[in-house]
């Protein structure tokens, strides 16, 4: 690739290469990127629903979600806008718990959210301990601007897949592009393969 005259750049510290995907740089702060206003739904009205290609939809209230077995998750997160944040600490419920005992022929899932945001994922990317519905960050309730009261966390994919303000999962037999996936961003979004845009 062509060298940019005069550009030297700043190398990341040695040892990061196994944790920082190509084209990413590490930040200490936690940037906020959203396509619209931050929604605020009272917890008394909040529910989480698994619906779509299932025998019967299942719904949890906020209290019921908190009563489910929770995990502490420490993980690195990677935003398609090129920042990565290492060692973030979350608490939440594995998607496996929410899908437990659900019979489905679906191979895909669409997360749906307050504010109308959606994102699509292969079901295989949200099971087997790879995805959670998280409600705490750094030991505190998850702030609204970072997706609280609860967001999806799928840390092995770019962060737009970790939908903020998530309210449920729709299981689908066909793959249906979500919000950014319909606007030029990659359908799967694996940061290690730099799956940023349609053309990648």
């Amino acid at each position: 690739m062509p060298v940019t005259r005069g550009f030297r750049g700043r190398r990341r510290p040695e040892g990061d290469a196994t944790r920082v995907p190509p084209g990413q740089y590490v930040v200490d702060e936690f940037p906020v990127l959203s396509a619209g206003p931050t929604p605020h739904v009272p917890l008394s009205e909040w529910t989480f629903t698994v619906t779509g290609a299932v025998d019967a939809p299942r719904t949890w209230t906020w209290e019921e979600l908190l009563a489910l077995p929770a995990e502490d998750i420490t993980t690195d997160i990677h935003c398609v806008t090129r920042w990565s944040k290492l060692g973030t600490a979350w608490k939440g419920v594995a998607v496996d718990v929410l899908l437990d005992e659900i019979e489905t022929a679906a191979e895909y899932v669409t997360a749906f959210c307050d504010g109308g945001y959606t994102t699509n994922l292969p079901l295989a990317d949200v099971v087997d301990g790879q995805a959670w519905i998280v409600y705490e960050y750094g030991g505190e309730p998850l702030e609204a601007e970072h997706g609280g009261p609860a967001r999806l966390l799928v840390p092995h994919l770019y962060l737009w897949k970790s939908a903020k303000w998530v309210r449920g999962l729709e299981l689908t037999e066909d793959d249906e592009p979500g919000f950014w996936e319909g606007l030029g961003y990659h359908n799967r979004g694996d940061p290690w393969r730099e799956e940023r845009y349609w053309s990648d």
Partner: protein, 234 residues
């Protein structure tokens, strides 16, 4: 692609003009990814909003230097006319406006968040300028205000363009001062009944504050499109 022109906008920002062979065209509000490569192969890539309208032959990017920004400081202080840069795009189809989308168009920009909004203003002007538009720009001081002469020109031509300064302002400053508040927003944004298309761009604090006020004022959250620039703009 080649840098064909460069001019300083403020002490911290500069506009680069680029000749991009095979540019597929863009929508006002979209951005590009610029990639810089060092001699040893190290590279860094960042997104920058396009300031030029789709009608412009050259692509204009206005870049603001962020503290410790390895890419932005290079682009603001070191790039020269004739240099070659690698570019990818356009990117982003949501924070975009075209004349056919109609109005009333409302553009609310904080700091360098004005860049994609000025592309919309330029697009509007280039295509006849019939769409009703309301603009509110928040800057720290007169010296930090991007496109000042151009904004004055729009105001002189009768557009509703307001500037509010948040930190320092001259004694004879006739515009707004301090943080944008509910009353200030209500004065510039047509009521929800008129279904304005609202674009908000700036630092996270500005965008969160303004978008929340708009929802309070009864605007449909789906009619409010936001884009945030943070210190990680790099």
């Amino acid at each position: 692609m080649r840098v064909t022109g460069a001019h300083r906008e403020t002490a911290r920002s500069r506009t680069l003009l680029l000749d991009v062979p095979g540019w597929p065209g863009h929508l006002a509000g979209q951005h590009v990814d610029l990639r810089l490569t060092a001699e040893d192969g190290y590279h860094a890539e960042r997104a920058y909003s396009i300031a030029s309208p789709p009608e412009s032959a050259e692509l204009a990017l206005t870049v603001e230097r962020v503290d410790d920004g390895e890419v932005s400081s290079f682009l603001v202080d070191e790039v020269r006319v004739g240099d070659e840069l690698e570019l990818r795009g356009p990117v982003g189809g949501y924070f975009a406006w075209q004349v056919a989308d109609g109005g009333p168009l409302v553009l609310l920009g904080g700091g360098s968040g004005l860049v994609p909004l000025v592309a919309m203003l330029r697009h509007r002007a280039a295509s006849g300028g019939d769409v009703e538009v309301h603009v509110l720009v928040s800057a720290r001081s007169p010296a930090d205000l991007l496109y000042r002469d151009e904004l004055d020109g729009y105001a002189a031509a009768g557009l509703d363009v307001r500037v509010t300064l948040t930190r320092t302002w001259p004694d004879d400053w006739a515009g707004g001062t301090g943080r944008v508040d509910r009353a200030g927003l209500e004065a510039v944004v047509p009521g929800p009944g008129r279904e304005p298309r609202v674009y908000v761009c700036g630092p996270t604090g500005f965008v969160e504050h303004v978008a929340a006020l708009l929802v309070e004022l009864g605007h449909d959250p789906h009619a409010i499109r936001t884009e945030r620039f943070g210190p990680t703009g790099g």
